[in-house]
Symmetry: C2
Subunit: 798 residues, 2 copies
């Protein structure tokens, strides 16, 4: 079953066809393209004389030449024609530059369209602004050489390669009127995530979603060599892309204006195909077969229109034009002259008026239709809060701590089911084929899984109109969610804890994007990227050591507090409270870690909400802390399994060593431990929980070092004795995992007694009792499996 369509958004009015490119049209497009290329070269080389109103001198050249020329002409060509499409048809579009190191081309486009000046008013759309434009490029205090957060119109950083199609598909999900023009570089096309992302159309719904138009730009070379797709037999490239499901339109050459005419024709065909597919699907004239969406293969020389040969060496069309094709322009007058000829070849005198304003103004699309001003690329500005219901509907009834056992994530699944219902176009769940396994399957009651390939009767909740995104690729899930949230919608990526490291670099890059964006007032806050990690290290019963790793927590921990949040809810109600907070938050990466197996429940909803809001708190019912003196030892915990072991340890101590005063502190909001995070516990609060001097035995979900890191700067950090995942794992029981990693209740009791300020009589007996229990456990394991071969030499471990 799937929620109903929003009729206002689904079917677009029939727009005009993209008319054939006339000779005059071609001149206009060519002029715009020349202007973008002129400005590209100017940004790489010039610090003065940006309009070339006087002869070029060495003094006009920047002291250090940095930037990427090679890909820029192609990026600008696609941009010019996409802009014409927008102008002629009113098609709402966003442009993504996969080879985003060609930053100057996109900066030039934005300046030509006026967006740069609107965004950064100091940088006017005239000669003075142009001087600043070229000077700021790839310069300290200026902007990077690649497309970045500072570039208006971009939701795609030109750094780590491979995600451009993922971002494009994420951007058009649930936005049927949007076209994402996504340029894929042929270097980028060698990466795994990019190769894997062509399959986006296998999950795209022509009714509910917009369209992606990939333009594979084969200029043949990367930094110092050719690319695989650039050098393959073109028939193979065609076969490959057809095999991914696309109709392949090809444009090749370097002749002008022929290339303009051919590219315009290909674009017109592509756009018409997209419109035909969408209109058929949206008017019920579609049999449900996955459409053959169009794409364009553009073959143009690397560094096209740049220096053809330098010092007798071929440059145009080769890897040698990747960055700065003329490198000695300050020292070598011949190079300087070549640069001047190169710049003048674009006829800047035609492109800029006396005041330095671009003369192409009237030919550009206007307002929000400008690619550099696309509202979708500043998604925060249009973000609407999710409708969320009262959590009581999903809460677990907890009459007392530790008496009810529940799968916590199942409650989250119920909550997300209603989020789907109440937000039919602005929320999606992304997951590598584990929605049911992660106990979130209730969402399937209201939305099928998305699948655009053939659906068969035996399939379970699968439909082209489905909006639960399952693809066996953490990269795809992460990248789609990034595109979806950067364009102002909400989502959650749920995945196995150990394999969250697959997309860790994407998490890092997204954190960096958000960190940068926080410093740009014009970028409105976007919905947070919510990551839910389940199937944790502690409960991977039949999988082995390779499935046990809390690594992503450590990765997120190291980034700036302006964007990072890490939550370790110990039970279902805390998970609900955390989820509500995360789904309402903006511009964070929220990492939530909790297992999916049945687990003891501790807090009722009110207590959970208060506990999560505080970030950390004393669980008086668990400890034995009669006051008014400080406890003898603090038992702290963060994470579901550590919480269970800590509560059990406290119970053992309460019952067997009642004269020992123990306090149990549970931490949900991990960053609250840090002294300098926005969520930091106030120092007085921290001292109320952990005292100033009492030793803390801290049971932690992840690697112990994380807590050592966090409490540095807190009073007497050396008294925090942390136990956590110490890379001991195998196929074994959950309890044995806690023993192997020395975080079991018995280990905690022993250390608590060792660290306590006083040693009540009977303490040694309790320690002995714990050692007996551990020995019993080991004996049980041995006995139970005594006939199993000793395939491991355990003596070599631990």
């Amino acid at each position: 079953m799937t929620t109903a369509l929003d009729p206002d958004r689904a079917v677009l009015p029939e727009p005009p066809r993209l008319p054939d490119l006339t000779g005059r049209d071609a001149e206009v497009v060519d002029a715009w393209w020349r202007a973008a290329m002129y400005l590209t070269v100017a940004q790489i080389y010039l610090q003065e004389n940006a309009l070339l109103r006087e002869p070029l001198l060495a003094a006009h050249i920047k002291p250090r030449l940095l930037g990427h020329w090679g890909t820029s002409p192609g990026l600008a060509l696609v941009y010019a024609h996409a802009s014409r499409l927008v102008r002629e048809t009113g098609q709402r579009a966003v442009y993504l530059a996969g080879p985003g190191h060609g930053g100057p081309a996109l900066v030039a486009a934005s300046w030509l369209e006026g967006t740069w000046s609107e965004t950064y008013p100091d940088l006017t759309r005239d000669a003075a602004g142009l001087r600043r434009l070229v000077r700021q490029f790839s310069t300290p205090g200026g902007i990077p050489s690649h497309v970045s957060v500072t570039t208006p119109g971009s939701i795609h950083e030109g750094g780590e390669l491979g995600y451009v199609l993922l971002h494009a598909f994420g951007a058009v999900m649930d936005d049927p009127g949007l076209l994402a023009v996504a340029v894929v570089g042929d270097g980028e096309a060698e990466t795994g995530p990019l190769e894997g992302s062509w399959k986006g159309i296998s999950f795209l719904d022509p009714v509910r979603d917009g369209a992606v138009l990939p333009v594979l730009h084969l200029n043949g070379a990367k930094i110092s060599g050719p690319t695989v797709l650039g050098r393959k037999d073109p028939a193979e490239v065609r076969a490959l892309l057809s095999g991914h499901g696309y109709e392949v339109l090809e444009v090749e050459g370097s002749d002008l204006p022929g290339m303009h005419h051919r590219f315009a024709a290909a674009l017109a065909t592509a756009w018409q195909r997209i419109r035909d597919i969408q209109q058929a699907a949206r008017t019920g004239e579609w049999d449900g077969t996955r459409p053959r969406w169009p794409m364009i293969v553009l073959r143009s020389p690397k560094g096209w229109t740049g220096p053809h040969e330098v010092d007798g060496v071929l440059v145009e069309g080769t890897f040698r034009s990747h960055q700065v094709p003329l490198s000695r322009v300050r020292e070598d007058p011949a190079h300087l002259a070549m640069l001047e000829r190169w710049l003048r070849s674009y006829r800047p005198e035609e492109l800029f008026d006396a005041a330095g304003r671009p003369t192409t103004t009237l030919q550009d699309p206007v307002g929000d239709l400008r690619l550099s001003a696309a509202p979708a690329a500043n998604g925060g500005a249009t973000t609407r809060a999710l409708a969320l219901r009262d959590l009581r509907a999903y809460a677990v009834d907890v009459p007392a701590p530790g008496v009810v056992r529940q799968e916590s994530t199942r409650r989250l699944g119920r909550m997300l089911r209603d989020v789907y219902v109440d937000n039919p176009t602005s929320f999606r769940l992304f997951c590598p084929d584990e929605t049911t396994s992660n106990r979130l399957g209730d969402v399937l009651d209201v939305s099928d899984r998305a699948f655009a390939e053939r659906v068969e009767p035996e399939d379970d909740h699968l439909a082209h109109a489905g909006r639960v995104m399952e693809v066996l690729s953490e990269h795809s899930c992460h990248g789609w969610l990034e595109g979806y949230t950067l364009t102002g919608r909400h989502g959650l990526f749920a995945t196995y804890e150990a394999f969250a490291m697959v997309s860790a670099s994407q998490t890092v890059q997204h954190m960096k994007w958000l960190e940068e964006a926080a410093a740009l007032p014009w970028r409105a806050p976007v919905p947070s990227l919510n990551l839910l990690l389940t199937s944790t290290a502690w409960r991977n019963d039949h999988n082995g050591f390779s499935h046990q790793g809390p690594g992503l927590l450590q990765v997120v921990l190291t980034h700036r507090g302006s964007v990072t949040r890490i939550y370790l809810p110990p039970d279902a109600n805390c998970l609900l409270a955390v989820a509500e907070h995360c789904l309402g938050s903006r511009s964070y990466v929220n990492l939530v870690v909790i297992d999916k197996q049945p687990q003891l429940q501790w807090l009722d909803l009110d207590a959970a909400a208060a506990h999560c809001a505080a970030g950390a708190g004393t669980w008086a019912w668990a400890g034995h802390d009669p006051g008014p003196e400080e406890p003898d030892v603090v038992l702290a915990c963060a994470g579901d399994t550590p919480t269970l072991e800590t509560v059990a340890a406290a119970q053992i101590l309460r019952e067997r060593l009642p004269r020992l005063r123990t306090r149990v502190v549970n931490v949900v909001d991990l960053m609250s431990l840090s002294p300098d995070h926005p969520h930091a516990l106030a120092e007085t609060h921290f001292r109320e929980l952990f005292t100033d001097t009492v030793d803390v035995v801290f049971a932690f979900h992840g690697f112990p070092g994380a807590v050592h890191q966090l409490v540095h700067g807190r009073p007497a950090p050396g008294r925090f004795h942390v136990r956590g995942f110490i890379e001991q794992g195998t196929t074994t029981t959950p309890f044995d995992m806690t023993v192997l990693n020395r975080i079991s209740r018995f280990h905690l009791v022993i250390e608590a007694i060792e660290r306590a300020r006083t040693t009540p009589p009977g303490a040694q007996a309790v320690v002995d009792w714990c050692h007996e229990r551990l020995a019993e456990h080991h004996a049980y394991v041995r006995e139970h499996f005594e006939d199993l071969p000793a395939i491991r030499d355990w003596s070599l471990e631990g």
Copy 2:
């Protein structure tokens, strides 16, 4: 230019053709296959009555049913036929199971071939051993449910998906006589790294390398839904794989013995094609065009031969057979009866003799030819040490510290050039298109870059026989190197520091593999996985914040000391000493971090070697530590840029505050700081360097928390005041990066004075002087770029 071929290894003797499958052959193969499937089902379900010599009772069933049935029949079918190929032709082969969660099939195969019993003698090849075999599976104290380090014949963990072809291609590089049969699951085929890895043949040399035979096993479903390739129009799948460059051979169905005959025919054709390609290339009858290597698409039902329908629901051929298709066998007599029928359908009475020994013995290949006994899959056993020359040939002449400036990695490049020369079949460098950029280009003097697609005249050091591996995919570089080292050869993966996070999950999984292998005496130590990170966070001049991130160091840090090594050589001679050590080491992940830009050199080769061997040491020439008392403050550093700033800070203090006793300690071997790593400095040595109580101002390459983590457990860890990369970055100068991250010499001087045990007269003046210098720097930045727009609102940062 490329080093000469080894004629002894390149050309294989002409082997017999794989004969057609006769009826009798088919019966033998089928019997073996049935035995493997019987044992698979037995492992999933049985704890007793493993040979079904008595009627099946609920008591014979394991208490908890875990394991993956769905993919196992296909894995076993391919294994059976690959074994026949080996038996008939003597082809040396290794088998990689991409859908490695089908572990029981591979365990069964190994036991049938006798290898399991040879490896684990307690587990005999008879009824007693069989009982243990089924009981150990997916059981605490036993083995994981997936193919893992414990599985003889495997170099590929069945956990994180996507790397099977990478491992296969890495395995056959420089081993012309080896065939890697690599089964690709259709779930796995949805991952980015797998999609990206088909291009392995674009880098494979038919002369020097062996062959990979991919078998794409399309059973159509993953955990809870269909797969993209499983549901695509078969013509599209064919187009896709043809587009990647393969000759696609297809086998489809579930009829028997038809499937045996068809698969045998496809395998015979594939093998003949491979032989033809290799023989042509190795006898000079080849025009250099990239061969169309064969591959097989195998379409067979998921859970083939298992329960077809359960409780009225279709199971065979659907996702419902992914794991345990009959789940209530202990409770439901009807399910139990179905299980018994299922097990008996394989006719176990024909497959095992009275003693429980498999009757298929004579049909198996023998000795090292058995796939489960392939020497290539236990590469440590055949590893030969690399020939390494005296480092003096590459060393920088350092007459005094800090007077010579060099690109340190260029010296490493010279060393690696000779490593290529002296080890023509056992060393490769892997790098995403950055060998030259990373200043390692000297290797190209002796080996071209590998490229099997079209080579053109303007290309630079590119040839199908090249052995420098450049592909724009960190995943591919990492995965190939893993395959290369696990089969006993040596290599280095050099990459940009920030983008090393792309393959961080592979680093984690490889560390886990090595950690597990260390506990298995039969797995001989393999060459280490060497990672060189360059273009570090501190020197990313024209790239912005997205290119600045020392994340991988943090990831490696958290893993076990049995495999992790992290080196931060401060200069070229230290880098050489570290590289020599790493290339000679076994079974480690060695992470080496150093920038590629010209940098000051500190130590001559002898001093560098001694310094690196010690791991950390006092640089008396840098500090001002007249003794015999302890210094007032210790200035410690790890990493090239932090070392530069620390030495500069010490110089400022020496000159301007000579009454302050400072000691400079440089750390090369980061793990030496930890109290419990194999490389840990002995406590007395640690105290000699850092004293017991004196405050330490520590300038660190990575995130500061890493050092806090490491020194936990050392004397008074609270006195370590760490400065490092605090996620402040942008397009700016290297020095400004140190200012933004508060690790500049001036910051270090100010903190050293603040932390020192005494405050000599004049200290405040030095602090003031430093603040003036910082103010001057800020003014310079402002002035120099005063006409640049204020595109950032810096007030929101820091």
